[in-house]
Subunit: 417 residues, 2 copies
């Protein structure tokens, strides 16, 4: 099945928002085994939208729309497709009841235009909206499938993941549906990981192995299209076992989570605590860890020691390490170790990570941009320090340094170091 | 002039990356007075790319491409357009010399495929690439303009902003070119700002006033298309004066920078220092401030006090405030004030911001999700605390709280509070 994603909304053409929906749907469709050949963005204009539908129909057999299902007159995706297909519009009673109940519950006056959010193209299956009011539409006409989803990501994502994907699986039939597992890696770059798996990647036909790179983390999706769920699981298992065996030093999750989530879960399970002492990452590691709900149970807090005074006073790094003609300086293995040890002792935590380095743009202490030291202090174990020379701009260096520090902790928590 | 943006890259269709280039270019083109009617994404496939060019030619008179200018055989945007136009390819000598010099400088072996990055479509003007090797192409053929830009945002953005925009302005001519000023606001929501300017927005024709909202910050672009630069400046000035007069409590910049940049600049100018004590924002304020190059001059560092122990030990918040049946607790105005004052004294800084609250997802200390206190302590001035009740999910609450704290500091630095 070949798909085209059509995002409808003038705000996208004005650059007011980024089309993250297209990425989410592309990944979701790929995971179902559906190839996306084009993505299109068109404004809230019926004539231009119908023209985009005509073009998409010539080159795809699944059209996935986002946006234009809301209450206002600008929301015209449903009307445009109905007009193109020569079909009527009908009211979906359960959606209408839900909208009325919502207004009644709020004690507000019912706004007539909200009725529009309960409308379906004649013959379309309704797609449940758990996080909003507009009902989704799914219909197959003349060998072409149409999926109409809302624009706001918090409504679009659950609708696609639930009713939308289920409906698509039905259209695909069992032999076409894709089964896949996502593997997440840290501490290794995309090309080094590919080297480890090069024979598997070269020989791949079924299952397929597709790498994805993000700054500081790499993912691989292992997929098979063949047969029923059980058969697919058997095929995947053999390939997964080979990959796990070669990459166990880097493989931190078999689902789409960042390494900080794995670490917070692991620390929670072990009932251990963490503190952080950051210089060049400026609070980024702390920000990543606290993005995970429930992190307060294991993360006690930390210090951003941008100046030597704070390194000394808040963390207890000796001034002799930081300043003076023979001092190793703030950007050094000695300071990284002292930061981790001082912070761990001060916060009385089980683990402390430290990061100190030069994220650029200019050299500091005569040390090159990209030179970073990460340290790990543990209760009752020797402190370790790693020296890194990272490439990229300021933001790239900061994110890679942060992820590398988290990787060091993960290695320790899982007995890999 | 009507534009279509064509992003070329299979990684976009697989959902491996988000098409942020389309947003950047849409905003940039809007700022030049060029309307974007469609955005298209197509994979690294010459046939499908040529088909996309044919379609775009029918509905636009400017085609802006991103991606497909690199060294590999997958990079085929230039070849596809040359084939479509029936033109040859020629070597751009200065770009070739730059590439060779780069390889010679690294002492590496010259990789022949890099030659491809110095190629131009016959008759195209070269667009300088300050951050990479691939030269851009600009050409006008049969009343249609073509702009070929690289895919990596760090190469695409400066090329578009410099040579790309200059070339487009020439194509537009003086009477069509848009002149605009971007105004950035903090401490006020989009709808409240619109209320302040409602008569100007309603009556607008020339200049136009377009609002943009981001989490925690709002922007307005004031634009005029008419006449020469001087005439445009006169028109803009009258409207800008009216807006400045009504919004001076919130207007922190007249260029596209975040509030943390304005604050770092202001502190540098005043030779003052800043420290931070963060609870629910978990290091986000620190991370924002340290994103600004040169922030190390004014930001001494701070503490992320996720636990009461760290609040007490690292910042000196009295335990009597934090724990006990009659204590106001960690999420309170008293604790916000004590965090700011304790941190300022400990780091011996001129200013200290504090943030404490509940970012969710669950209630904490029986305090509702979204309840946040921000504090500001200044050398020689009374400490101020603001109570906020913020809406949104965990990330939304965190970013709004962080921006609100920065706004409080900006008010003080500029004598507004």
């Amino acid at each position: 099945m070949k798909a085209e994603i059509i995002a409808v909304g003038t705000e996208l053409l004005l650059g007011q928002i980024v089309n993250t929906n297209a990425q989410y749907l592309s990944r979701g469709l790929a995971a179902l085994g559906i190839d996306v050949y084009y993505q299109t963005v068109v404004g809230d204009n019926k004539e231009r939208l119908i023209r985009a539908i005509e073009i998409a129909r010539e080159r795809a057999d699944l059209l996935v729309f986002t946006g234009g299902l809301g209450p206002t007159l600008d929301d015209l995706t449903r009307d445009a497709l109905a007009e193109y297909l020569g079909r009527g519009i009908e009211l979906h009673e359960p959606s209408m009841e839900k909208i009325e109940a919502m207004f009644a519950g709020r004690g507000g006056v019912f706004i007539e235009s909200n009725r529009r959010q309960a409308l379906l193209i004649e013959g379309a299956a309704p797609l449940r909206n758990d996080t909003g009011l507009a009902v989704g539409n799914a219909l197959a006409v003349d060998d072409t499938c149409y999926l109409l989803l809302p624009g706001p990501p918090r409504e679009m994502k659950p609708m696609f993941d639930n009713d939308g994907s289920a409906w698509l699986r039905e259209q695909l039939g069992p032999s076409e549906a894709l089964h896949s597992v996502l593997l997440k890696f840290a501490g290794i770059g995309e090309s080094a990981l590919e080297d480890l798996l090069i024979d598997l990647i070269r020989e791949q036909s079924d299952p397929t192995i597709a790498p994805y790179a993000k700054e500081g983390e790499v993912a691989i999706r292992v997929s098979t299209k063949a047969g029923a769920a059980e058969e697919a699981a058997g095929k995947l298992d053999r390939t997964l076992a080979l990959i796990r065996d070669r990459t166990s030093a880097y493989l931190f999750a078999e689902e789409d989570v960042p390494i900080e989530t794995t670490i917070v879960r692991k620390l929670t399970e072990m009932r251990k605590t963490l503190t952080l002492a950051e210089s060049c990452t400026g609070g980024l590691v702390s920000q990543l860890v606290t993005t995970v709900p429930g992190s307060a149970v294991v993360y006690v807090g930390g210090v951003v020691s941008y100046s030597n005074a704070v390194k000394h006073k808040q963390i207890g790094v000796p001034m002799a390490l930081l300043e003076g003609p023979d001092a190793p300086g703030a950007i050094s293995a000695e300071t990284a170790a002292a930061m981790a040890e001082g912070m761990r002792a001060s916060a009385d935590a089980d683990f402390a990570l430290s990061v100190t380095g030069n994220a650029g743009p200019a050299a500091a202490e005569d040390k090159p941009v990209g030179l970073v030291y990460v340290g790990l202090a543990e209760r009752g174990r020797e402190t370790r320090v790693e020296k890194l020379q990272l490439a990229g701009d300021r933001e790239g260096i900061r994110i890679r340094a942060a992820k590398r520090a988290l990787y060091m902790l993960w290695q320790s928590l899982t007995g890999r170091a």
